[in-house]
Symmetry: C2
Subunit: 328 residues, 2 copies
């Protein structure tokens, strides 16, 4: 019997989850919940139609896991606790500083409903968090590094577009190669913000805009760019569309640690991702953890969980025996 999935929200992430479900024969999509008019939403999956978001409660018996695909700023803090009372849920809440309070709210709701709610699933938080934990647990005497990119930062792209005279723009976060190498060489460097990442901006100016002023304003923008080496390229709308339409991302989690009575042996653990599509990869992680959420709840678990709480075997459709035989 398939695991019956509902998708709540149909932006980039929701569409990615829909495509990911099609890659997993043990899952089926029941419906997509939308706040728009469901009649106007044509899904990609044959035979499946959208449902009005306010009808979700009526479908509690026909959905095993709800994958919530809203945004972290305003959607998930409301949606995840609300839905966790009735559904096993998975979300990708990624405001790191607010994870503890999100956890508390979701945990109370999920326990009330006897459901499993898996929060902050994706790659960071998610796969990167898992690797930070493994590195620290295995090499307690060591240093941890996380680098992001090369990839598109939505927040920084938005910041560029708010500058006066900017018609459109995209920002890439790029790890500094020399810093990566120093870490991999076991030099345990202490790196400033500027030494870790570059910011490269592709900006489409409005007609007649003052390019020098735009460049200066971007480079001096506090929080977003002032602490980084920032490169600004002015391009046309056509070039932006042609060369920068993708949403690639990725990054590196590196643990550099020492063992031995004299700390004489150095070990480097490195996990990296190179993703053509940030939302589609995140979606693929969400779907694997939906499988885990369903199984854990079937076995009697309830409450809020994170990637730290999930036995890896629950992510795979293979049996424990098959996993040991083929992957161990």
């Amino acid at each position: 019997m398939s695991i019956r999935i509902g998708i709540y929200g149909y932006g980039n992430l929701g569409r990615g989850v829909e495509a990911a479900i099609a890659q997993n024969p043990d899952m089926e999509l029941v419906t997509v919940f939308t706040r728009r008019d469901p009649a106007g939403l044509i899904l990609h999956t044959p035979g499946v139609t959208a449902t009005a978001a306010d009808k979700a409660a009526d479908m509690a018996d026909s959905i095993d896991v709800m994958i919530i695909c809203g945004g972290s700023a305003t959607d998930l803090p409301v949606q995840t606790p609300a839905l966790a009372k009735q559904f096993n849920v998975v979300d990708s809440f990624d405001t790191h500083a607010k994870i503890p309070q999100h956890f508390e709210a979701v945990d109370a709701a999920a326990k009330e409903g006897g459901k499993v709610a898996m929060i902050s699933v994706g790659w960071d938080p998610g796969m990167f968090s898992l690797n930070r934990l493994l590195g620290e647990a295995i090499l307690p005497q060591g240093t941890a590094y996380t680098f992001w990119g090369k990839g598109v930062s939505q927040g920084h792209s938005d910041a560029i577009r708010r500058v006066e005279g900017v018609a459109d723009g995209k920002q890439y976060t790029i790890p500094v190669e020399a810093a990566l190498q120093a870490v991999r060489n076991g030099e345990d460097p202490q790196l400033t913000t500027r030494q870790k990442h570059l910011r490269e901006c592709f900006v489409v100016p409005c007609e007649g805009a003052d390019l020098a002023r735009i460049e200066k304003e971007i480079k001096e923008m506090p929080n977003y760019f002032a602490d980084y080496d920032t490169v600004v390229h002015f391009i046309t709308a056509e070039e932006l569309k042609r060369d920068h339409s993708g949403i690639p991302h990725g990054g590196f989690v590196i643990r550099s640690g020492k063992t031995g009575w004299e700390q004489e042996n150095r070990h480097i653990m490195e996990f990296s991702l190179k993703l053509d599509s940030n939302p589609e990869f995140t979606s693929s992680v969400l779907v694997a953890y939906a499988r885990a959420a369903y199984r854990m709840q079937q076995e009697g678990a309830c409450g809020c969980k994170t990637v730290f709480d999930v036995p890896p075997a629950y992510l795979s459709p293979k049996s424990a025996q098959e996993l040991r035989r083929t992957l161990l």
Copy 2:
């Protein structure tokens, strides 16, 4: 209260575990069990003495987890099931093909004793297995690659030393850089044994030995070298000692997968290790999983487990709350 650890066997691995315990303030070493005369075994840890292996049963109440540091060929198939009846145990059983039968034997013993037995812990099997599982579960439409090295292969070094006229020698397994790059570029290459790894041998010949014959015999040795491009260097005993005394190892697990309705987006997940000391890193993994074994048994689990069954949070001394706040 500390987790009380016993070490069973005091070779490279056992000594590595002893050093690793000293890096983990929530653990303490109770004793090392040895088949040699315990009076002759001086441990590194102040105040701790060795115990005869046949006295282990008497100490069941003073040890929370026994870390078994024997070899996979003949020690662990006997020791792990025997000890799992009385102790929570962790071993590094690494004969991949025999894992299912080892699992069955250990599972029966651990269930008889109400203990948790964690087998095949280390980096391969272990961390590499975990990453193979994650890659397959997250990117089901993809290809998996494992490369080993650069590192010393004990089995291949032993094979060299069995060649007539060889006084001593060491063999390094080296991943082929072009193959690694093709995988990272998303080319999904089909790689032969020869295309994946090189074998580099450093050989100390006996006086007057026929070097050409030795080289030919090594390069044509079935299973070990015949299927590989093999390089043989003749060096002196002094050079071997000076330049090749370490036991480095490492490798790469790479998942290359595609998402999207048209498989239009490529993603690369890569996990790699670069280890100065293979046994010390393995020991560090064993110790982290000893913590997990203890906790899982405290919470009522029993039977045989592998890295696939362990919620990552159990590996860390931090509380779940602290993990979410600092690492998620």
